[in-house]
């Protein structure tokens, strides 16, 4: 083929592709986040962070909602959790924001979005609408995660807490007949379970939120507090805080706890190493059950309540959902989907698929949920703890304070520092953040 013909054909092809692309660009995909209305239905754009199989389930539920009524049409859009708040704030300030966010995994960074003034308060929406939802239906510890400066801006839609998951077979082999209820008992059991290169227990070691999240229950159980009532002073370096941390570091010193991190970029709890038999107990959530049941066999998996130091305590993490400013129809439609999503039947369906725990107290009465708990009796341990669970302070500087504490906790757990020094340094750094 002559070079000139080839060149001409190449140019023609390039021009064709360009034209096709321009046409596609002009016709499909609207530029702004809100596409207005279609067939008289108000379109609600909903951002969510669901990945993998939970994403498929959420799409199913959105379709079900759209078919169940003819006023609103919800469009689901996945946005990655990394940089979510920054992206949301940018969209809010340039009028390209979604109408609704479902399942934000970082509730404490909501403060930044609220500062734009475009998040709608839900205080007067609760109790209204077609789908009954009142503030009393939500456990106070969970509801608190969406409250900023006394106003409810977000509702918790996914709940999560943790307990101790253990290997029943190893317990039987070590001659342990009853599960521990206090940390002293757990340390004694761990001693019996440490043999042949395997350890008794894995305590959270690593960077990130998980060690701080689990440490807070120890702190509360020892009688301490994370921050003062007015969230202005750091209080975790109290004697109770040191006692809490020492409970863990003493086990590492005694050689009964796994001495390094078992977390990786895909999980924080250490379940792969548990499946491999490297330790007999670890702190995990309900979402870990399937992985360990598949790994060592469902008959070998057991769960017991998170032990106490003096009083039982539990931390709860929630993913929150919130509504952004828009027209009256859009706000009403957003709240309609949110309250529908939090109805007992919907929560049961969502939690069975996702492994999260319900945030609506009425879900306990749902038939689907009751059947699910009956099939998975281990779940009841997690659910029962929710009754006394507290949540982390919802202030915008939480993530920095947590990062400071997390770094020091890691050093203490790796025995590079004493618990007192670690907590004191973390408190200094945390207080500096609060004083800004």
């Amino acid at each position: 083929m002559k070079k000139a013909t080839l060149a001409r054909r190449g140019l023609a092809l390039g021009a064709l592709v360009t034209v096709a692309v321009t046409l596609a660009a002009c016709s499909g995909g609207s530029v702004t986040g809100n596409a207005g209305s279609s067939d008289g239905k108000t379109t609600i754009t909903m951002w969510n962070q669901a990945t993998g199989d939970t994403a498929t389930k959420l799409t199913e539920m959105v379709d079900a909602f759209n078919q169940s009524q003819s006023t609103y049409e919800v469009k689901s859009q996945f946005i990655a959790p990394e940089g979510f708040t920054a992206r949301l704030v940018q969209a809010l300030t340039s009028n390209q924001a979604p109408n609704l966010v479902i399942g934000d995994q970082n509730p404490s960074s909501l403060g930044e979005a609220i500062a734009t003034g475009k998040i709608v308060s839900l205080d007067d929406k609760l109790g209204t609408g077609d789908y009954p939802l009142a503030a009393e239906d939500i456990p106070p510890g969970m509801l608190a995660s969406g409250v900023f400066d006394g106003t409810t801006y977000a509702l918790p839609t996914d709940g999560g807490d943790y307990a101790v998951i253990y290997n029943k077979k190893k317990f039987a082999e070590a001659g342990i007949t009853s599960t521990p209820t206090t940390w002293d008992e757990l340390a004694a059991d761990a001693k019996k379970l440490t043999k042949d290169g395997a350890y008794g227990v894995y305590l959270p070691i690593g960077s990130g939120e998980w060690p701080v999240f689990t440490y807070q229950s120890m702190l509360w159980s020892a009688g301490g507090e994370f921050l003062s009532e007015d969230n202005k002073k750091v209080e975790f370096d109290s004697p109770a805080g040191v006692t809490a941390l020492k409970t863990w570091t003493d086990m590492i010193d005694a050689g009964v706890a796994y001495p390094s991190t078992a977390a990786d970029s895909n999980q924080n709890q250490g379940w792969p190493a548990f499946n491999a038999g490297q330790f007999a107990m670890f702190i995990g959530g309900a979402y870990n059950l399937k992985s360990v049941q598949d790994g060592i066999g469902a008959e070998n998996v057991g769960v017991f309540t998170f032990p106490k130091i003096t009083t039982p305590a539990m931390n709860t993490g929630t993913d929150v959902s919130y509504v952004t400013e828009g027209t009256d129809e859009q706000e009403a439609g957003s709240y309609a989907f949110l309250s529908w999503f939090m109805q007992p039947d919907q929560q049961a369906e969502w939690d069975i698929a996702s492994g999260y725990l319900p945030t609506n107290l009425k879900t306990q009465d749902s038939d689907a949920w009751k059947a699910h708990v009956a099939e998975n009796p281990l779940l009841s341990v997690f659910v029962d703890q929710l009754a006394y669970a507290k949540s982390r302070p919802s202030i915008s500087s939480y993530s920095e304070i947590s990062a400071a504490l997390g770094a020091e906790l890691e050093k203490a757990m790796l025995r590079q520092k004493s618990p007192e020094d670690a907590l004191r340094d973390a408190a200094t750094a945390g207080q500096a953040v609060l004083d800004r």
Binding site: G14, V21, G29, S30, F78, Q96, N266, Q269, G285, N288
Partner: protein, 296 residues
């Protein structure tokens, strides 16, 4: 007389072969060492890709198992079909191909013309502008993306093909490469055509561009690979699934705890890597030439 007769006879008898002797070990060692080093390097560089492909066929459990298994105990070919159930990966592929191809085309064309202009055309401020461009090369993208996104947002180009392609069309590196290439080019042919009365465009189109074909090929491949893998910019410029590229689509497979989709993530990554691998295999000669600077 007899001598010349003998010499004029054609040689019909085959020469007696010398007996083959194995080279002594001392002489073979460099060859063995070379092979050993190459084998180690191959394992080190190829190992992660082989691992990625193997993990993409494992179950979710086995993907993260400790200690890790090498070959899957059960081959889960359905991981690849499950990918397409979770998200419209076909659409993501189309988007990535469109964006990568058009961006590369734009980069090659503009860099070629600009490189020629800086090398061969004399205009006022030519050197100043070139130095400013070189300085701009040192500014990392993380510094400029915020105002860029505001600009795209005010133009209404977020979540659109033009928003993904147009900011990537200027390539300072490309201008630099082509300018160096044209500078090092002997100017006799070009002078000859200029004397014959060819205009700038004709010189460029008929002489210089065809001569630069190897360089264009190499730069096009490097540019294609860059645009295919340009995760950071695509991640922040797009908020709608319709305009996701394959790289952003992979974030849909990451998960924090519990129900890990690590095996699916590896399957998606394998699919994302294959086109670039194919392009590289087809054009590896040119890439090596370009990087080793053998193009003059």
């Amino acid at each position: 007389m007899t001598l010349s007769l003998e010499r004029s006879l054609p040689r019909t008898v085959a020469p007696i072969p010398e007996p083959r002797r194995r080279k002594p070990l001392a002489a073979r060692v460099p060859g063995i060492l070379r092979h050993a080093v190459l084998i180690v390097a191959t394992v080190l560089f190829f190992g992660p890709f082989v691992w990625m492909v193997l993990v993409s066929f494992k179950s979710a459990q086995e993907a993260l198992a400790v200690p890790p298994t090498f070959l899957p105990t059960e081959w889960h070919f359905d991981n690849y079909s499950r990918l397409f159930q979770i998200a419209p990966f076909g659409r993501f592929y189309l988007n990535t191909v469109v964006v990568a191809v058009l961006s590369t085309l734009g980069q090659v064309v503009t860099s070629l013309m600009a490189g020629y202009a800086f090398a061969r055309l004399k205009f006022r401020g030519r050197n100043v502008v070139f130095v400013v461009l070189l300085a701009a090369l040192m500014v990392p993208f993380e510094v400029v993306f915020t105002p860029l996104i505001s600009l795209l947002s005010s133009l209404g180009w977020l979540n659109s093909y033009q928003g993904l392609i147009v900011p990537n069309i200027p390539s300072i590196l490309g201008v630099f490469l082509f300018r160096q290439f044209f500078s090092n080019f002997p100017s006799e042919i070009e002078d000859a055509t200029r004397i014959d009365g060819a205009s700038v465009w004709q010189r460029f189109r008929l002489i210089m561009a065809p001569m630069a074909t190897p360089m264009i090929g190499s730069f096009a491949i490097l540019s294609f690979v860059y645009n295919w893998n340009n995760f950071f910019f695509q991640f922040i410029a797009v908020n709608q699934t319709d305009f996701f590229t394959v790289q952003i689509g992979l974030t849909l497979l990451q998960s924090q705890e519990g129900a890990s989709n690590f095996n699916l993530l590896m399957a998606g990554s394998t699919l994302a890597v294959i086109p670039v691998l194919v392009v590289f295999l087809l054009f590896q000669n040119q890439i090596v030439k370009a990087i080793s600077g053998g193009l003059r």
